[in-house]
Amino acid sequence: MTASRAAASAAGARAEIGRADGALIHVEDLWHTYMAGTPFAEAALRGVTMHVYPGEVVGVIGHTGSGKSTLIQYLNGLLRPARGRVVVAGHEVGRSNAGIEAVRRLVGVAFQDPEDQVFEPLVGDDVAYGPRQLGLAAEELRARVRWAMEAVGLPFDAFKDRYTYTLSGGELRKTALAGVLAMRPQVLVLDEPTSGLDPATRLDVRERLLALRRRDGLTLVLVSHDMDEIAGLADRVYVLHAGAVVASGPPREVFARPDALAPYGLLPPFPTQVCVRLRARGIPVRGDALTIEEAGAAIAAALREAR
C-alpha cells in the first residue's frame, strides 16, 4: 500500500520534472505557515510542487483543511512565498519587485462563494469593476463586460441593468465569475465553483467553463472536493493531503486505485466506484470509467460480452 503510493508519487514527480519547461505557473517546494510568529502558527503547506501548462485544466482535490485554498492564493500573488518558489509566466512572485499587478491580470481567482464580492447595485457595473481599474476606453470596457457576461450565460442586454439583489443564487454566482473573467485572465482559478448550486446550474457552469477553454484557450485550475466534477473536467489532478501533494497525474490514473485515495478521506467519482464494485463482484467491466457516460458504456460492453 505505502509502497504503491510512494511509487505513484515518484512517477508523478518524474513527470513533473520532465515537463516543467513550458509551464505557465511553477510552484516549487512551497511551504506556508498561518499566523507565523504567533502561538496559533499552523503549517498549511509542506513542500508543494505543481505546474500548470497553458491550455490545460488542472484539478486540485483534497479534504477540508488539506491546503487547497492556501495554495491557490499563491497562484496570483495574494500570498508571497517565504519558503519555496512560485513563478507565474516569468514573474518571480517571491521577489518584492515582482510585477504583482501583471500576475493578477494574468491569473484570475474566484474564491469559494464569490457572490459575496458583488458590491455594485447593478450587474453590469459589478462585472465592469475590475476592467475599469485598468483605465480602458468605454468601448473596450463594454465589449469586455459583454463578453464576460455572455461567457457565463448572462445575456448582456437582459442582465446588465438588473439589480444584483434581485438575482437568484446561480445568477449571482455567474455575475461574480463574470467579474473575474472580465479581466481577461489567461489562467482562471476557481475554488469550488459549483458548490451550493442547483444541479442544472451546476451542469451549465461546467459546460461554460469547458467552452471557455475550448474557444478561448483559457487555462483552468479547479479546486474541489467533488470528485465527479474534477473527473469530468480535469486533464490532470493533484491530490493534496495535510499540505503535501500525495498523488498527481491524469484523473484516470489517480482514481484507478480507489484504496489509494481512501487514507486521505477521498472517494473516487461515483461512476468509478460503481465499476470497481461490479468488478469486485466478478463482473468484468472496465474499472477506470470516470463519468456516467463511460461507466454506462463499460457496463453495456460487459453485458454484450455476457450474451
Binding site: M35, N76, L78, L79, F111, D116, F119, G130, M183
Partner: protein
C-alpha cells in the same frame, strides 16, 4: 510581506489557551482588577509612574504566560496612528501647552517644549499599557467566562433596571465578532484584489482611499448584518428569551485567591495615585 493577513495582528478578542494564574482567575475578579489597572493607567501623568505601569503591564504578560512578541503584535496596526499623533503633538502644541515649560527645540514656527515632549512619551506609553492590559485580559479570558463575569458583576444593579444579562451578551458578541469580521475583511480584500482591485494607495489621498475601500466595506457591512440576523434566528431557534430564569452551564465559584488579584490591583492603583512621582 503578506499584505492581507489582518488577523495576525489582532490580539484583542483572541483567546490563547494556555494554563496560567491569570487564565484560572475568576473572571469577576479579573474584570475588577483590569478596571483598577486601567484606572491606574488613566490617572498617572508622570514619566516615572508610566515606567512603573509599563513594568506592571509586562509583569501581567509574564503572569499570563503569553509570548511577549505576540502581545505586542497588536501594536503594529496602530503604529501609523501613534506616529501621526506624536508628530501632530510635537508640531502644533508649541507654547500653548504649558507655556512655562522650557523650550527644547525651535525651528522657524515649530516650537517643542519639555512639557510637550513629556506628553508625547506619556501618551505613547499609555497606549502601550492599555493595549497590554486589554490584550492580556482577552487572551486569558474565554468569551463565555467574560459574559458570566460581566453578568454576575452587574446583577446587583438589576434592581436599578440595569439589563445585566443583555449588556453582558452585547459585550460578548461584540468581542466575538472582532476576529470574525477581520477574517471576512481579509477574504473580501483578497477576492477584490483577485479581480483587479487596487487597494490601499497613498495614505494621504483620503477620498480616493475611501472610494477604494467601498468594494470591501459594502460587502462587509452586508455580511455583518447577515451574520447578525443568522445569530438572532439561531438563538431564537434554541428558545432564547433573554436572561430571566436562565440557568448557567458553568456557575462561577471564586476562591479566596481570586480576590487577592483585586486586592493587588487596588493596592497598585493606590500606590500609583499616592506615590510622590516627580511631575
Amino acid at each position: 510581506m503578506n499584505e492581507f493577513e489582518l488577523l495576525r495582528n489582532i490580539t484583542i478578542g483572541q483567546y490563547l489557551p494556555v494554563d496560567s494564574y491569570l487564565h484560572r482567575l475568576d473572571p469577576r475578579a479579573k474584570i475588577l482588577a483590569a478596571i483598577l489597572v486601567i484606572a491606574a493607567v488613566t490617572f498617572t501623568p508622570s514619566l516615572a509612574g508610566n515606567a512603573c505601569l509599563l513594568a506592571g503591564g509586562l509583569a501581567l504578560v509574564w503572569l499570563g504566560r503569553i509570548p511577549l512578541a505576540y502581545a505586542l503584535r497588536g501594536l503594529l496596526p496602530a503604529v501609523p496612528i501613534l506616529v501621526f499623533l506624536a508628530v501632530m503633538q510635537l508640531v502644533f502644541f508649541g507654547r500653548n501647552y504649558d507655556p512655562t515649560s522650557p523650550v527644547v527645540f525651535q525651528w522657524r514656527w515649530i516650537v517643542v517644549t519639555g512639557a510637550v515632549l513629556k506628553l508625547v512619551v506619556v501618551s505613547a506609553a499609555r497606549f502601550l499599557e492599555l493595549l497590554l492590559v486589554t490584550s492580556v485580559f482577552t487572551l486569558s479570558t474565554k468569551t463565555t467566562d467574560l459574559t458570566l463575569g460581566i453578568e454576575s458583576l452587574l446583577r446587583p444593579f438589576q434592581r436599578l433596571r440595569v439589563p445585566a444579562h443583555e449588556l453582558a451578551l452585547v459585550v460578548t458578541i461584540a468581542v466575538r465578532f472582532v476576529p470574525t469580521l477581520a477574517l471576512e475583511a481579509e477574504r473580501l480584500m483578497k477576492a477584490q484584489a483577485s479581480r483587479g482591485a487596487r487597494l490601499g494607495g497613498s495614505r494621504w489621498r483620503f477620498i480616493s482611499r475611501v472610494r477604494r475601500s467601498l468594494p470591501i466595506l459594502v460587502p462587509l457591512v452586508t455580511y455583518a448584518l447577515r451574520r447578525g440576523e443568522e445569530l438572532i434566528v439561531a438563538m431564537e431557534a434554541r428558545a432564547y428569551t433573554g436572561g430571566a430564569g436562565r440557568t448557567a452551564y458553568t456557575v462561577l465559584a471564586s476562591r479566596p485567591g481570586d480576590w487577592l488579584a483585586v486586592g493587588a490591583a487596588a493596592v497598585f492603583l493606590a500606590a500609583m495615585l499616592l506615590a510622590p512621582f516627580p511631575a
